[in-house]
Symmetry: C2
Subunit: 226 residues, 2 copies
């Protein structure tokens, strides 16, 4: 019997890379990347292709979502709003929050999965060690699965899967090492595209994970949050 | 006190025009139109601007959603799939169904509303006299409102409103007449852009509404389903 087909959302960051490493063990993969006008768009796309090459994934889609840049409201898409230095104790939603971003990305994945007849969509969202984005919580993905159930054809059975949702960043690094995920090919920084800035939210969370795991992060940094 | 601001999704068809006519009575309006690579894209956009001019709506956004055409799977976006002649007794989901389309459109409206700080988003979806699309049912919009609640910032309160959801096409025509909605400016046909085809699902449902209301449809048709 041929392996089932799953869609994997691959931003190019560490979390999506480890997610792909997990899915690779049990499923054929189709990789989806979304350009939404974020600052590091080109660097993320490069990481996406490198990870796809690593896993020999031929079925790749890159969708454009230009309007998020048009409406702004986030430091990731509006260059007039500076990318803030991370504050890992702040419980407020940071300025990098892109309005309803994951809904757009997941919806694209669902439309594509419906045409491909793929049954599962994987996204490397993390609730615990995260920036506190509302659309990265387990409750959000549950609501999205409910929406898919009522919003697609009756014979369409698509589920969003979030294997990392309850993991700490440290555990994600260790899982990546265990599965030999190519973490050297990934890119997480919100701001820079040659050496990672080391101090934005995304860098700080990543560095915290490597530090707690006792592993050296293989990508270059300009400075370090710690 | 200044009037509240609402986002209205305006495709350019009869239902969205009547919805706008209803919202105009109680709210400032911002109009959103989405090009998703549908056959009659240019004609719908013309109708959108004509309706916006009629209601003096300055705040207009036209978002592009190109990837739906890229993945295909619908007669509206894939010119290799013919637009079927309407069958109003068929209970199957027709070939014009665009995978998860309304989720993309509503998500765009939510992102925009979140930046605009608009509280309500209006869409002229109809459940009863419809083609049976899963994403035009009241249960779908309820699931979407739930998703907004968990997927946006805690202080964001946005609701999707569907004032036509339980109406028959006949009642929509009569409501339009009562509110002097500019139905002559609207475009509903899935296929043609000078004279409406009169026989696609959308034309057939529209013509049925006018016929049952005892009113002449002001737009030109090539032929009539009835």
């Amino acid at each position: 019997m041929s392996k089932k087909l799953s869609v994997v959302l691959v931003s190019g960051g560490m979390d999506s890379c480890v997610t792909a490493a997990m899915v690779a063990q049990e499923s054929e993969m189709a990789f989806l990347h979304v350009n939404y006008g974020q600052r590091t768009e080109a660097r993320e796309l490069e990481a996406f292709h490198a990870i796809a090459d690593h896993y020999h994934v031929a079925n790749r889609q890159i969708f454009e979502l230009n309007f998020l840049k048009l409406i702004g409201g986030s430091s990731l898409t509006d260059t007039n709003i500076p990318v803030a230095r991370a504050d890992l104790h702040n419980k407020e939603i940071p300025s990098s929050y892109v309005p309803f971003r994951n809904t757009h990305i997941l919806s694209m994945a669902v439309s594509w999965a419906e045409v491909l007849r793929a049954g599962e969509i994987f996204i490397g969202a993390v609730e615990e060690d995260s920036s506190g984005y509302p659309d990265c919580r387990a409750a959000y993905f549950q609501a999205f699965n409910n929406l898919i159930e009522v919003g697609t054809k009756p014979d369409t059975k698509i589920k969003i899967r979030t294997p990392l949702i309850g993991m700490k960043k440290k555990e994600i690094v260790l899982k990546g090492m265990e599965l030999r995920a190519p973490l050297d090919l990934t890119w997480s920084c919100y701001k820079e595209d040659s050496s990672a800035c080391g101090v934005c939210d995304s860098c700080a969370l990543r560095l915290k994970g490597f530090r707690e795991a006792g592993v050296k992060d293989p990508i270059p940094y300009k400075e370090s949050f710690f």
